[in-house]
Subunit: 274 residues, 2 copies
């Protein structure tokens, strides 16, 4: 390798099954220290939404959900669990599409995604109660109430004493989830919550190499950071986080902008597809 | 750093301005050798569409474009160059949205993007002819004719003799571009063309850590690799490529699937948003 320092993405395995009330920042900090080593200021820690929601107790037992007639009707038509359909509706502001059994909704936060982000997989449901995987014991995990707040809390806990020699460091944190998108096959990661880094880079006022002004080129860096993290985080293995080292927002070439994941949500009035 | 080898992303700067007919693979191979070092089998080289198109001569002088009445009308209403609007229409199979001056089209390849991927920025237009930036001298760069073929050609040229000691290596190549998307602010990279790696990872037949089957979880790894590369490629600086080292498609956890970028295009019949 020559003179160029690469950007590096380290997987963070070794987290236990997360339960409501767990101190996720502390558990993550320990796993990072053990598996990656000391953090450095400027590192970006990308954490899967699922473990954040679990720690925050953003979960509902399906047995406690009473589906509406509307939910029962849709569920029956498409062979879905009516309680899950009901939860998806409850978590949504608006239904964007509801066809072929697919529910694409706008969540309370403004995210547009399948099933309002409500998820039955990897929920640790089988470890509740009797340990049996009965229908009645099933747990749905919801999106965090406020992913930016979640990221901010994790940031505080992750930076404290995490540097070499126990120094405090300033890290960025992204709470990420796996969303589908129109037009293209396959899911990619998106940044739900962001703290300690600018989610966007605005190249609008810069010139390209020919001196031509670049119009309307805003790059969703936080989403791209989340995608990079996913390259080392298997969906099925217990790798719920990654550390990205060496990312530097452009200087001079563009303007890092924004402070939250909320700013990655397109204003519905400006969205041709909502 | 502890025992975990990270995934690494190396920027590849140092490419000259690319002209039609240039041997892009050779130029890239030299830049990689000088700035990154020998390639290893399994490395993924992500190359910006713009330099690929330039080398392939996928460019049109605006002076040679005669806009239709339809193009002139739309251009006038939204203060656009009618010749550019005409080119966008020519490069498209279908218009997906045409509102507020924005043209979102389905290209001949099936990509859905703004302006059919036709681009005036960073085109090297000022270096044509007199060197003056006159309207008449402006050059539009189109998407490559067949991005998968472009990637396959680059792959052959990049792997040959590029390893340590001049050995041949098997690399993956992604030809990437910057696309917008509905619902979210900011552009991200997408893989237009893919060679030598599986663009998708299919987790549908695997179980999650609770033993619950994961349905319909197909990850667009090639797009995520392209996003990771963009973290080290400034849009305005001359960094048109990156080398990703240490990416391994999941084994056991899922099934790497597909061989081309074409497979990342959603079947229009299955797309609720086209």
């Amino acid at each position: 390798m020559k003179d160029i320092a690469p950007l590096s993405v380290y997987p963070v395995p070794g987290l236990p099954e997360i339960r409501p009330g767990d101190d996720l920042a502390a558990l993550l900090a320990r796993a990072v220290a053990e598996r990656v080593g000391p953090l450095e200021s400027g590192d970006v820690v990308v954490v899967a939404q699922k473990v954040v929601s679990k720690a925050e107790g953003a979960r509902v037992a399906l047995a406690e959900v009473t589906p509406s007639a509307f939910a029962r009707d849709f569920a029956e038509r498409w062979e879905k669990d009516p309680r899950l359909v009901e939860l998806v509706l409850r978590e949504s502001l608006r239904i964007v599409r509801m066809e072929r059994g697919v529910m694409i909704t706008e969540t309370r936060h403004g995210f547009v995604c399948a099933n309002s982000g409500v998820d039955l997989s990897n929920t640790g449901g089988s470890e509740e109660g009797s340990g049996a995987r009965g229908e009645g014991g099933e747990i749905a995990v919801l999106l965090p109430e406020d992913p930016d707040q979640s990221a901010a809390r994790l940031r505080e806990g992750l930076g404290r004493g995490a540097g070499a020699g126990g120094k405090d460091v300033e890290v960025g944190v992204i709470v990420s989830d796996t969303f589908g998108r129109p037009w293209r096959v396959g899911l990619t990661q998106v940044a739900l919550g962001v703290a300690g880094l600018a989610p966007l880079v605005d190249l609008r006022d810069t010139n390209d190499v020919d001196g031509r002004p670049l119009h309307a080129t805003i790059i969703a860096m936080a989403d791209q950071l989340a995608c990079a993290a996913d390259l080392v985080c298997g969906k099925t293995a217990r790798v719920p986080a990654a550390v990205i080292r060496g990312y530097r927002p452009p200087e001079g070439d563009g303007q890092a902008t924004g402070i939250s994941g909320r700013e990655l949500i397109r204003d519905p009035a400006m969205d041709l597809f909502r």
